[in-house]
């Protein structure tokens, strides 16, 4: 009886752990309600995403509230490359993400909600800059939003 209970607890813990690792960038983010089936097409596919990520970093590096964090992290080109993969993935693109999990990548940075929100503002600015519609922009916002729980640690 006791061992059954223990098994349940352990399998529960494993399930939780797998959920967490599934959360770490293996596919489209499961939002409620779900994302549009053509979300990535609304973005103009890989090229559109790449344009957005470049614009995003343009606005981030102009924002004195947050640019130092990204500068310290270093290698902006690499960050743009990995983000282009990640953003396609969370919108349902069939790509492989080669970077670290969002949790691992931000664990030691002590990011605040205020700083996270500043990146969200940059995200909207980037959408406007590349003429992605507000509705399409919100598909990506929805797909990335749950990362707030692991990125914000302070």
């Amino acid at each position: 009886m006791k061992s059954t209970l223990r098994n349940i607890v352990i399998s529960g813990a494993i399930a939780l752990a797998t959920t967490n690792s599934a959360f770490a960038q293996t596919g489209q983010t499961r939002t409620l309600p779900g994302l549009d089936s053509d979300a990535l097409e609304q973005w103009g596919g890989e090229e559109g995403i790449r344009n957005w990520v470049e614009s995003l970093f343009y606005y981030i590096m102009l924002d004195n509230r947050i640019n130092h964090i990204f500068r310290e992290f270093g290698n902006i080109e690499r960050q743009i490359f990995l983000n282009t993969q990640l953003e396609q993935l969370v919108l349902g693109g069939d790509v492989e993400y080669q970077g670290a999990s969002m949790e691992a990548a931000h664990a030691d940075l002590g990011i605040t909600v205020t700083q996270f929100n500043a990146v969200v503002e940059a995200a909207y600015n980037a959408c406007e800059r590349i003429n992605v519609t507000y509705e399409a922009c919100n598909q990506l916002i929805a797909a990335l939003a749950p990362y707030e729980r692991v990125i914000v640690t302070k």
Binding site: T31, T114, E121, Q139, I141, A142, A143, A145
Partner: protein, 360 residues
């Protein structure tokens, strides 16, 4: 020369000290004041002063502070209805995106609404007056129990509203992968100054509290915000015409809903509904010691028989359709069409509503 040097050195160090303390205070204020919320996510100010929509408090904490600081706003709302004009002016502060405090002064001018009531009071007291025909003038110098609280022109209702709200759990914006809303509980204490008029309208109390629980969530995939509120109250017209009625002051749970569609990062449109009570529905007005209905014969005698029927009160649920525009984090402008239905003895109270919120 030496003295001069010494002097300039002292000045320099004094300047340095000033500079250092300025930096210090700037750092301190940077820690306390915070405007880190994303544009529009602080919501606007509802008429009772809480953060929310137009007529409904939301679970969001007012102002632009995240959990890293404090932020607040001043707000002014004007609603122009056929028989009334509502002015609502107040201040609210949000603390660490956790709780908020608010104070709002509401001033409702009633135009000619109660002139009929005043006229009837005048007439009935004349008709039923003393043998020598010593008529008491309307709202006159008689004892307090017979003062209907109606001014000769433009009777004005004033109410102070104190509010507090605490966020209990949930994340309205970022938890897009579950359906758990942000939930807050809050309360208002409302102090209506017009005790005499409220007696005329047969309200049970002029001061009372109400409590609410709100659940708010943004659904980004469909660009929509939904808020559902349950308010535990006995208010008549949010307290502007008092609380409770002739049958007592029993509070009840009344639902309210706001739905907003996000058009752009700085613009939202939507609709709201708030259920109202019926404490005074079907009630006449109390004219001094007599009910308007009972005063029928006296009115007939003076040729004003038709009036008693028009003095019956009614209350409708409130609806509004709004557009909110956030040109910057320092300002929001909300324009709405408010459909408030019956208010006291006047029907069809629909009109435009404008609300400004300035954040600091």
């Amino acid at each position: 020369m030496v003295i001069k040097n010494l002097f300039s050195r002292r000045t320099a160090s004094a300047l340095l000290l000033t500079a250092a303390s300025a930096t210090g205070s700037q750092l301190a204020s940077a820690e306390l004041f915070n405007t880190g919320k994303v544009l529009a996510t602080g919501g606007v100010s509802m008429i009772d002063g809480a953060g929310g929509g137009g007529i409904t408090p939301w679970a969001t904490i007012t102002g632009y502070a995240t959990r890293d600081g404090i932020n607040g706003d001043v707000h002014y709302t004007y609603a122009n209805l056929p028989n009334y004009a509502l002015n609502s002016l107040g201040v609210a502060v949000g603390f660490w995106d956790r709780f908020e405090l608010s104070y709002t002064k509401q001033i409702l001018t009633t135009g000619s609404t109660f002139n009929t009531v005043g006229l009837v009071t005048d007439t009935t007291s004349s008709a039923g007056g003393g043998a020598a025909g010593e008529a008491t003038t309307a709202g006159g110098e008689g004892d307090e129990s017979t003062n209907p609280g109606i001014e000769p022109f433009n009777t004005t209702i004033k109410m102070d509203v104190y509010g507090a709200k605490i966020r209990v759990f949930g994340e309205a914006i970022y938890d897009s992968d579950n359906l758990i809303p942000q939930v807050a509980i809050g309360a208002f204490y409302k102090d209506n100054e017009n005790t005499d008029l409220l007696k005329t309208l047969k309200a049970n109390k002029a001061k009372d509290w109400e409590a609410y629980i709100s659940a708010t969530k943004i659904f980004f995939p469909i660009n929509t915000l939904i808020n559902i509120t349950a308010r535990y109250t006995s208010a008549n017209q949010t307290g502007l015409t008092g609380f409770g009625g002739p049958d007592g002051n029993e509070k009840e749970i009344r639902p309210e809903i706001s739905i907003a569609y996000l058009l752009r990062k700085d613009t939202a449109i939507g609709m709201e509904w708030a259920q109202h009570g019926d404490n005074l529905t079907g009630e006449s007005v109390q004219l001094g010691s007599v009910d308007a209905t009972e005063a029928g014969p006296a009115l007939q005698a003076t040729g004003l028989g038709g009036l008693s029927g028009t003095l019956t009160q009614d209350e409708s649920d409130w609806y509004d359709a709004f557009i909110a525009y956030f040109p910057s984090k320092n300002l929001s402008i909300t324009a709405a069409y408010a459909m408030l239905g019956n208010i006291t003895i006047t029907p069809e109270q629909h009109g435009f509503y404008l609300s400004l919120q300035a954040s600091f």
